[in-house]
């Protein structure tokens, strides 16, 4: 099992979101409570953002 290093709060519902020791900036994780996708903005200090929705790029 992956070791949990830190558990920053979900910006949407305040639940603790466990991040593994190998967490990296820009990775997408899922909140265990509200299930929203979150982006790791910073590891030290730990900070999460709501992940951007998938958008159409029209092949550009």
């Amino acid at each position: 099992m992956q070791e949990t290093l830190i558990a920053p709060e979900c910006p949407e519902c305040d639940a603790a979101v466990p991040l593994g020791t190998d967490a990296r900036v820009s990775e997408i994780v899922e909140c265990p409570e509200c299930r929203l996708e979150l982006e790791i903005e910073s590891v030290q200090p730990p900070r999460l953002l709501l992940a951007p929705e998938v958008e159409e790029d029209w092949g550009e």
Binding site: E12, C13, D14, A15, E33, C34, R35, L36, E37
Partner: protein, 341 residues
């Protein structure tokens, strides 16, 4: 081993009690009674128990002494005979409606008959470990709430206790056919039941009184029979107190139920199973609770679901027994439900 007996074991709740108790590693089921099926094999009525027990139905008169007696007997008869039942066992766990309501006038209003053992009512502890765990550890008389009441109390009481809702609460309940019991009636004919959405209690369902008693709010409850065999789902609506937002609601639930083994908060923003659905809870002892605020954030809709025969009855009773006898609370209740089913 805990010596247990079930009175009224031929019904659906009785069968569910037997299923859970026979598979419980610390319980020895010493008797299962039925008035009409004495001497018959239990698995003739409860075929899921084939090869799991050699018990036969026995008469109430030949009930051996036991440590815990589960009553799956009808209301009215239960209160009438409770003094006799209390002599049969050290601990009595009653699943009838007779000792749930504290106020005899309210009982008469909802059950249409005066209470016949009012002196015994205060001697019972409500069989809901999430609310009365400390009292249940020493309780010898336990009254298990109704199925829809359990869902209503577990889902609404954290908001009521924290002062997050105000005014009357409207409860819309849906229930599967097993809630009507194992006796045949015109309402349970396949031709009548199949495909029906039968509003059998547009107002004043009995369980509304239990929810009101537990929350302190006036409750207006309707109940509809739906296509399912098992399962209860409640949608409750209440006005939010001033300044209450989604974070406060979620925090109240998280705080209240963080350590509860059988209550889960299910209010996801993504995915197929965002809110509680009784379908995935069949056979399990979970009560799932979710919520959503309206756009103006002035009211909250609370969704609760459980298996009416398990967390809404037999499973909750076994959980109470575990608490009373110092067993791990989840023992014998570990089943997670099925998906898909």
């Amino acid at each position: 081993m805990i010596r247990a007996a079930v009175l009224g074991a031929a019904g659906y709740i009785g069968g569910e009690l037997l299923r859970l108790l026979i598979n419980h590693p610390q319980v020895d089921v010493v008797a299962a009674t039925s008035r009409t099926l004495q001497g018959r094999q239990i698995d003739g009525v409860h075929p899921n128990l084939r090869h799991r027990t050699k018990l036969t139905f026995s008469s109430e008169e030949r009930l051996p002494r036991c440590e815990v007696l589960f009553l799956a007997t009808p209301h009215r008869e239960t209160m009438r005979r409770m003094p006799e039942f209390l002599t049969k066992s050290g601990v009595v766990i009653d699943l009838s409606g007779d000792f749930r309501l504290h106020d005899t006038e309210v009982y008469e209003e909802y059950y249409g008959t005066p209470h016949e053992a009012p002196d015994l009512i205060p001697t019972f502890t409500q069989g809901l470990p999430e609310h009365h765990r400390a009292a249940l550890r020493t309780a010898d008389r336990i009254s298990v709430p109704g199925c829809m009441a359990t869902a209503g109390i577990l889902s609404l009481s954290p908001l009521a206790a924290a002062g997050l809702i105000t005014g009357d609460v409207t409860v819309d309940a849906r229930t599967g056919s097993s809630g009507s019991g194992a006796k045949a009636g015109a309402e349970n004919l396949h031709a009548e039941r199949s495909g029906a959405l039968r509003v059998f209690a547009p107002t004043k369902h009995r369980h509304e009184a239990e929810i009101a008693q537990a929350t302190g709010h006036t409750v207006r409850m309707s109940a509809t029979g739906v296509e399912a065999v098992r399962g209860v789902q409640l949608l409750s609506r209440a006005t939010l107190a001033d300044g209450v937002d989604e974070r406060a609601i979620r925090s109240a639930y998280r705080t209240r139920y963080a350590d509860e083994p059988f209550v889960r908060i299910v209010a996801a923003r993504r995915g197929l199973h965002r809110f509680p659905d009784a379908k995935i809870l069949s056979g399990s002892n979970f009560c799932d609770i979710g919520f959503a605020l309206d756009r103006g954030a002035s009211t909250v809709t609370v969704i609760a679901a459980l298996d009416n025969l398990v967390k809404g009855g037999a499973g909750n009773a076994v959980q109470c027994m575990n608490v009373r006898f110092g067993e791990p609370e989840e023992r014998g209740l570990e089943f997670t439900g099925l998906h898909p089913n």
